[in-house]
Amino acid sequence: MKERKVSLGLLLRLGIGLLVLAFFAYRFYGVLARQAYGAETWARLAISGLIIGSVYAVIALGYTLVYGILFMINFAHGEVMMIGAFAGYFVLEAFAASGFSARQPVLAILITFLAGMTVSMLVGISLERIAYRPLRGAPRLVPLISAIGASIFLQNAAQLMFGSMRRTYSNPPALERNVGWVLDVAGKPVSITYTGVLTFAFSVVLMIGLYLLVQRTRLGRAMRAVAENKEAAALMGVDVDRVIANTFAISGVLAGAAGVMWGLHNGIIYHYVGFIPGLKAFTAAVLGGIGNIPGAMLGGIVLGIAESLAPAVLDMPFQLKDVLAFAVLVLVLIFRPTGILGEVLAEEKV
């Protein structure tokens, strides 16, 4: 009889997995048995998770695009988002002061988004030009450390320039925060805010736009070619440096849009605001399978809903939301390092 070999690592992973599942089921059973939360609470949590998740998805796309091409974690991506949020903040401040955002709310929001996206795009391009391009071809640790340095630099530059106080986005009166349609769930009201709907809708538009850009345009084809094989792409006449710069520009645009959405929906921004969303968006990208564009979208939304529901499901204080999100990252990397939809990477990475 043939003996089946079971490796220790597999057993260990299975064991941990079963333990985690058992813990999960035990806590969830407790919550359900106590009827701690009504249906309206679950609905509220799921909706807020969906909205925050769509922002994560947009940020995660930036990570995935860059990772797919350069095999590098753009550590400063969260900071690019933060700067976009600040750009939007200043534009809205000016509009609010001049009364423009009361008169022309649609135009004001549009210009705010444009400003945030443009500024973030410029930051993204300069970041690539200054901190990453000279390191092309260096061992993997080197650009990663450079990216960490760039992230710290941007964070502190923002702190020195704008101070470390928390600032509140001055939304146009037509788009107040925490105001929206009210649904009726099991006899209790659940509100869907206008900012939330805007955030979700715009995220979906951006995702579709990016998908079309990558699949249908000349630039998208060049990006895919460079991701597949840089040398071969260069031989086919693709300007690799320009494609990489464009990739950073696109990921900057996405980050800027995410920053403005964050500001409009959550209301509060400060110099550190990009760090945690950046980390979570990276988690989302890994969760969906890094390098995989639909994966990043799915990963973002799954992570958003998971982190919103997990404290309630596991009967833990909501303070531990961030801890649970990181725990998701660790669990994914242990059990399925290639993510839900699988990685889409050309070369094998060590």
Binding site: A131, P143, G149, K230, L279, M316
Partner: protein, 519 residues
């Protein structure tokens, strides 16, 4: 030709200038000159920065030019200066006129106080002030361009005459006495001895404040040596290193403090327990992340560090760790019935720790373990093929690094008599990483140098306090581009005499030269 490079350089220089003004570096320069050179006012420093930026713009424009002629130089310098001057002038005009209208800009841009803008306008109305700063930038850019062109010409002439440029180091070595001392292996030891004696007697002459700071540098040397094992020798980028520091510190605090557990153990018992628990934490973190790629490892360890901090702060563990308020009255070491918990004694205690850490690291580096780590760092697959059980050695690296962090954490908590979640922010990990990288990955003297430069210097240059972390970030990027091997690179044992064409490569550590290219 000169025009295009000039315009491009002018744009870059304008952005840099406006950025530096917005983060208040001009005022910093003013204060620095005031306090160091006893300049009576702050405007000389402010304008020194402006002139230097103009000079830089002109010189950079010429440096980037391909066709070299005096006409081109003038064109490049002038166009760079005009663009830089016009943009900076426009920015200043905006800032000054808004301030003049009675709006306090500090609500949005914290550094743009009345005083800070007045230092640039010199009390003029916005328009003439903008013209003035633009003019100054233009003149200095042209001067910078001319200076660079002259330098390049002198250099070219020297090359044409067949003269070799001599570096400062070579010039120093030509002095017989210097050559003799530097070639004598004994002289190094003598120098080390003198340095040690100086360190030993230093606390008698330095005050409490400097003893404390030197102790902090020492703690960071231990932390750096620990991270050096993980990052420098084994090549595992750990961004959550502060977590082990926290484990050591909290173990010490909870075991010796009267609150919240009332164990009040002796310092000498708590110290090894802290080190042991930190090492165990290192192994526990190591197990799940062992198979991860390098960059995933970085982000997971970062997340782990944050988890530890959030947990120690949260309500869940308040009963156990004291929550956000931290733990007070951490125990001091007591030797022969005497409390030796002040800065003076702690300095010696930390010095002993540093020496121990250096000895351990050195022994490890040249042992079988150290060679296995280096092999893993260079290429994991090849190392495996050579029969190295990488899982074991990775765990060893994590455990060793964590134990050193736990040791310094325990001392840190006891010395401050306090520990709390805010002692363990991500910045600590970044500080340690920065000092390891600036000093030289994998190099013991490099780590010590890095700790002095990054932890000691800022204490001397207190004016720079606000800008320290900004500089750290920039330094990480610049070091990676300019000198990835660090200030004091690790020297590898040379088994063979390198052939002449390989000598150039020897400068950079092998992992930077031989690493896979283009993947």
């Amino acid at each position: 030709m000169g025009l295009r490079t000039g315009i491009r350089t002018g744009l870059i220089a304008a952005i840099v200038t406006i950025f530096l003004i917005l983060i208040g570096v001009h005022m910093l320069m003013g204060r620095l000159l005031q306090s160091w050179f006893y300049v009576p006012a702050h405007w000389p420093g402010v304008w020194l920065m402006v002139v230097l930026l103009g000079l830089w713009a002109g010189s950079r424009a010429v440096g980037q030019m391909k066709a070299r002629s005096w006409g081109n130089t003038l064109l490049a310098g002038a166009s760079a200066g005009i663009i830089q001057g016009a943009l900076v002038g426009a920015a200043l005009y905006l800032l000054a006129s808004i301030t003049q209208a009675g709006v306090d800009l500090r609500a949005w841009l914290t550094q743009m106080s009345q005083e800070s803008i007045a230092a640039l306008t010199l009390g003029l109305a916005p328009l003439p002030a903008a013209g003035f700063i633009g003019g100054v930038l233009l003149v200095s850019a042209v001067a910078g361009a001319a200076w660079r062109e002259w330098r390049l010409r002198v250099h070219a002439a020297r090359l044409a005459r067949g003269e070799r440029t001599v570096s400062l180091r070579e010039r120093l070595l030509e002095i017989p006495a210097v050559a003799q001392v530097s070639s004598n292996p004994l002289s190094r030891r003598v120098l080390m001895g003198v340095f040690m004696v100086l360190l030993l007697i230093a606390p008698f002459f330095l005050g409490q404040y400097w003893n404390y700071n030197l102790g902090t540098v020492g703690i960071y040397v231990i932390l750096g040596l620990g991270l050096n094992i993980v990052v420098g020798m084994a090549g595992l980028l750990d961004l959550g290193y502060v977590a082990f520091f926290a484990v050591g510190a909290y173990t010490m605090a909870l075991l010796t403090a009267p609150q919240p557990h009332h164990i009040q153990m002796s310092f000498w018992l708590a110290l090894p327990i802290g080190v042991l628990l930190a090492a165990i934490a290192g192994i526990l973190l190591g197990i799940p992340v062992l198979r991860m790629r390098g960059d995933y490892l970085a982000i997971v360890t970062l997340g782990f560090g944050e988890i530890i901090r959030i947990l120690s702060k949260s309500d869940v563990l308040t009963g156990f760790t004291g929550g956000p308020r931290g733990v007070r009255n951490v125990g001091h070491p007591v030797l022969f019935g005497k409390d030796i918990g002040n800065e003076f004694y702690f300095f010696y205690f930390i010095l002993i720790g540093v020496i121990l850490a250096i000895i351990i690291t050195r022994r490890l580096e040249h042992s079988r373990v150290g060679r296995a780590w280096r092999a893993m760092r260079e290429d994991e697959k090849v190392a495996q093929a050579m029969g190295i059980y990488t899982l074991k050695y990775k765990l060893m690296a994590f455990a060793m690094g964590a134990a050193m962090a736990g040791f310094s954490g325990a001392i840190f908590a006891s010395r401050n008599s306090f520990t709390g979640p805010e002692d363990f922010v991500l910045l600590v990990s970044i500080n340690v990483l920065a000092l390891v990288i600036v000093g030289g990955m994998g190099s013991i003297p490099g780590v010590i140098l890095g700790a002095f430069v990054l932890k000691g210097l800022p204490e001397i240059l207190r004016e720079l306090e606000d800008y320290r972390v900004l500089v750290f970030g920039a330094l990480l990027v610049v070091m990676m581009i300019v000198r990835p091997q660090g200030l004091w690179p690790a020297s590898r044992p040379q088994l063979e005499r390198p052939r002449p064409e390989e000598e150039a490569l020897e400068e950079a550590p092998a992992e930077l030269v031989e690493g896979e290219v283009g993947s």
